[in-house]
């Protein structure tokens, strides 16, 4: 039974529980390309969150290369894939022959203890004749095989292959990514060294310097690659590898250990089913790109997490439930929903894909159903349905049904139309509302997915690749350029996902930019990286309070107290699951007796009282805090919000003004101003403030909705279209402050 068969044949039929050959086949096929399954896997591999739309660029480029057999594919002048393969074609056959000879008779320049590894003749490969890409594929297969057997792949000098810089970069990137996935349970250095060996054989520069954009690549692609590179932590020196390898050598004595540890790592499922899961996910994702993006992000993040965890060589750890849980998360079998774990609970990956599709297409099928029920054409059928149902209804419903059947359908439609025409619901005809509904579907889906606490990265981030994005981000934040700061900080956390301060600033920037969803998502990451950080806990408490998530908010505020060095002892030692607001408030009051001069404590107390809508107490707490810290713009905003929510709009506006004096670009305060004016019925004024807020942060979705309402209340339906199309220019011109 040839390894070759395992490598190339196994990929086509992924049976659950089958051997670990699939990833090998995947690597080989991905790099050379034959099956569309692996194409999708490859799409999924290098991307993080919402690259999927950019992934289309990949698709366009890769498709010609990856479809069909290795040997014949239509040349596409502009596609990266074909250039990649053309490079192979142009190289000489003998070059590869030499490479294979080298591999056949391995030299041992660097390592001892080679004897406890797979003897080289177990590695099979194709004959040297045939087109060059076949030979290269063999070369790559041996790389893959070396991974399987724990055989270190060592650099073999090859004559120039005629690969362009761009192709080299692609090979480098792709192979390093595949290698990481392939050797997920191995030490990072080991992986890097393997890849380095591969690449130096192909004479590809392994330096980060290879990030230079090759000619003909779009800026977009470059960013995406850079993102994927930074996500994967670019290649490091191979020196550390040697030391690490020696350490790991003992464990790798048995070539099966790797396979076994794989099995342990993934439980009974094994690689194949994980592969299949991902494929089916990708298949359905392929159809629901926009909405699936943040789930992908979740999976990608947990995959990175799983990878990091998996680097611990202890087999017990590998088989731990926690790791399995994280692996499951990365496969999307489990998702977080409102701080609860929800298992998708599907036995077979295929079902998951179907169910997901069903959920997503629920809107579509409703549309069909709707059409079928002919609600548009005439409600006669609907009314009949109700009249026939009359017999089965109780008395109350009877009257209601009577009333409806009494109403002439036409009258009802007229009435509705009239109301609509008055602009109360917007100037929409039935058809328009229908369109709106369809649009809303995507928006709602996106929102609901993001509300699951997954951070959504910006698409085109100019700060990726910046030498010190964290510093830049903080600077921008201080200058009040919140949206810019967000981009810089995103670049930072892409580079260093464990930088809790990076995530915290990111969350802070989003909160001040009036986006609690993203703020929560970022703060959760900060919390993960640093569970005892008080500022993070407070921020989470605030954002959840804003989102009316009472239980979660209470949990974080209580956590603040428990983790506080001074007040940790005030509260009871057991962390009860069912926290009662009254108890927590009591603890806080006790703490305030201990140190009445602590502005932070009063601030947290203020948030707590907001949660229970004890607005007077809340305002009092914030006022106390402000006496201690009068230049804290965030406290002024909190005070204002408290007052606004208790219908003291005039006081609120004064407080917001203070906040804006201290921080002129405080988007949240601008939006709150708008809200306070609107709540007072001063719609024209509110419009101006909303527009100002939106000018600073066009992504503030809440503000867009509120603007729309205000426009309609102020009878400015002429501007409705500008609002719907988010045309800030027109709006700013029309409604200056």
């Amino acid at each position: 039974m040839a390894m070759r068969e395992l490598v190339s044949g196994g990929a086509a039929c992924a049976e659950p529980g089958s051997s670990s050959s699939n990833p090998l086949g995947a690597l080989a096929n991905a790099l050379i390309g034959s099956s569309s399954k692996t194409q999708e896997r490859l799409q999924e591999v290098p991307t993080s969150t919402n690259r999927v739309s950019n992934g289309n660029i990949y698709e366009g480029g890769l498709e010609p290369a990856l479809h069909g057999s290795e040997f014949d594919h239509p040349p596409h002048a502009s596609s990266q894939g074909s250039v990649f393969l053309q490079g192979f074609r142009s190289s000489g056959q003998d070059a590869f022959a030499n490479a294979w000879d080298e591999i056949q008779n391995p030299q041992m320049p660097l390592f001892q203890g080679r004897n406890n590894l797979i003897p080289p003749d177990q590695i099979q490969f194709q004959p040297h004749d045939g087109p060059p890409q076949r030979v290269l594929s063999n070369f790559l297969h041996s790389f893959v095989n070396s991974g399987h057997g724990g055989l270190p792949f060592h650099p073999t000098p090859l004559p120039a292959l005629g690969l362009s810089k761009g192709e080299k970069q692609r090979i480098r990137d792709r192979s390093s990514i595949m290698a990481r996935h392939l050797f997920a349970d191995k030490n990072e250095d080991f992986v890097n060294a393997q890849v380095n060996a591969l690449l130096s054989s192909l004479d590809i520069d392994t330096d980060v310097q290879a990030r230079v954009t090759p000619p003909g690549r779009s800026q977009e692609m470059e960013n995406v690659w850079n993102d994927s590179q930074s996500m994967q932590n670019g290649p490091r020196d191979a020196d550390g590898w040697i030391a690490e390898y020696d350490q790991h050598r003992v464990q790798k004595g048995d070539p099966n250990v790797w396979a076994q540890s794989f099995e342990q790592l993934h439980g009974a499922n094994g690689w194949a089913s994980e592969f299949e899961n991902e494929q089916s996910q990708i298949a359905s994702f392929g159809q629901v790109r926009g909405a699936s993006v943040p789930s992908l992000a979740a999976m990608e993040q947990t995959r990175v997490l799983a990878h990091t965890l998996a680097q611990n060589p202890d087999p017990k750890f590998k088989s731990s439930k926690f790791l399995q849980f994280v692996s499951k998360m990365s496969r999307g079998e489990i998702t977080f929903e409102d701080n609860q774990v929800k298992s998708s609970g599907l036995p077979a990956p295929g079902d998951w894909a179907t169910e997901y599709q069903q959920q997503f297409n629920g809107g579509q099928s409703w549309v069909d159903q709707f059409e079928r029920e002919e609600l548009f054409r005439g409600s006669a059928g609907w009314v009949n349905e109700f009249t026939t149902a009359r017999e089965q209804q109780g008395p109350v419903d009877d009257q209601w049904v009577n009333e409806f059947s009494k109403l002439h359908v036409q009258d009802w439609a007229d009435e509705f139309g009239r109301q609509v025409g008055e602009g109360i619901l917007g100037d929409d005809s039935w058809a328009d509302t229908y369109d709106e509904y369809l649009n809303e579907q995507t928006i709602v889906k996106q929102q609901s997915v993001t509300s699951k606490g997954v951070y959504v990265f910006s698409k085109l981030n100019p700060y990726v690749g910046h030498p010190n994005p964290f510093q830049e981000g903080q600077e921008l934040f201080r200058e009040g350029l919140l949206s810019e700061a967000v981009l810089a900080l995103e670049a930072e956390v892409l580079k260093n996902p464990d930088n809790s301060e990076g995530w915290r600033f990111l969350g802070l920037a989003h909160a001040e930019n009036d986006d609690d969803q993203q703020a929560i998502a970022a703060m959760m990451r900060a919390h993960e990286a640093d569970p005892t950080n008080l500022e993070v806990l407070l921020a989470l408490g605030v954002s959840h309070t804003n989102e009316l998530e009472q239980a979660a908010a209470l949990k974080y505020l209580y956590s603040w107290l428990r983790h506080h060095p001074k007040y940790g002892t005030v509260s009871s030692p057991e962390l009860s699951d069912s926290l009662h607001h009254a108890d927590v408030a009591r603890y806080f009051s006790d703490a305030a007796k201990i140190s009445p001069e602590d502005a932070d404590l009063h601030a947290v107390l203020g948030v707590l009282y907001n949660l229970s809508r004890e607005y007077d107490d809340a305002a009092e707490s914030f006022v106390t805090a402000l006496k201690l810290r009068p230049y804290d713009y965030s406290l002024w905003n909190k005070l204002g919000a408290t007052q606004a929510n208790s219908a003291q709009a005039a006081d609120a506006i004064l407080a917001y003004q203070h906040a804006l004096d201290l921080k002129p670009n405080y988007v949240r305060a601008w939006a709150n101003m708008g809200i306070s004016y609107a709540n007072q019925g001063m719609y024209e004024d509110s419009i101006r403030y909303y527009v100002r807020a939106l000018a600073m942060n066009p992504k503030a979705d809440n503000a867009w909705q509120y603007l729309r309402i205000s426009l309609s209340c102020a009878s400015r339906t002429d501007m409705m279209e500008a609002c719907d199309s988010r045309n800030l220019e027109v709006l700013q011109k029309e409604f200056p402050l």
Partner: protein, 132 residues
């Protein structure tokens, strides 16, 4: 200021809608709220369910005739319109994220009573929450 422990019946509710109801109650005492009474002058009953319409509902009455918000079914006769929705959907409608027409078409909002009364149930009735 004297401590005002929450006397509202909404304090212990887990629903997000409860917070809005509380804000509505306070809002109706203001000038803007009073203007609303003149403009609308109807009684709405809201049946709000945490997860699924019709299950574990909390019922609120927004009386835009008298200017009151109370918890529990309407005792003073029949409300002009009664709505049933999920907590999250109610939040979306009141904040303008979801169009009430669309909500009704989708079945996210169920209506009983006078259609004209139902049509006046629009996002601008509700005061918006400010963000800390």
């Amino acid at each position: 200021m004297a401590s005002n422990t929450s006397t509202s019946t909404t304090a212990s509710s887990p629903l997000k809608a409860a917070a809005l109801m509380e804000q509505m109650k306070l809002h109706l005492a203001t000038d803007a709220g009073k203007a609303l009474l003149k403009k609308i002058g109807l009684v709405y009953q809201l049946n709000i369910a945490p997860k699924k319409i019709g299950f574990n509902e909390e019922i609120y009455v927004v009386d835009l005739k008298k200017g009151e918000v109370t918890k529990g079914p309407y005792e003073g006769g029949k409300p002009d319109a009664a709505f049933s929705f999920k907590d999250d959907d109610f939040i979306k409608i009141s904040s303008g994220k979801m169009n009430p027409q669309i909500a009704f078409m989708r079945g996210a909002m169920k209506i009983k009573g006078s259609m004209s009364a139902a049509n006046k149930f629009t996002p601008d009735i509700f005061p918006k929450p400010s963000k800390m």
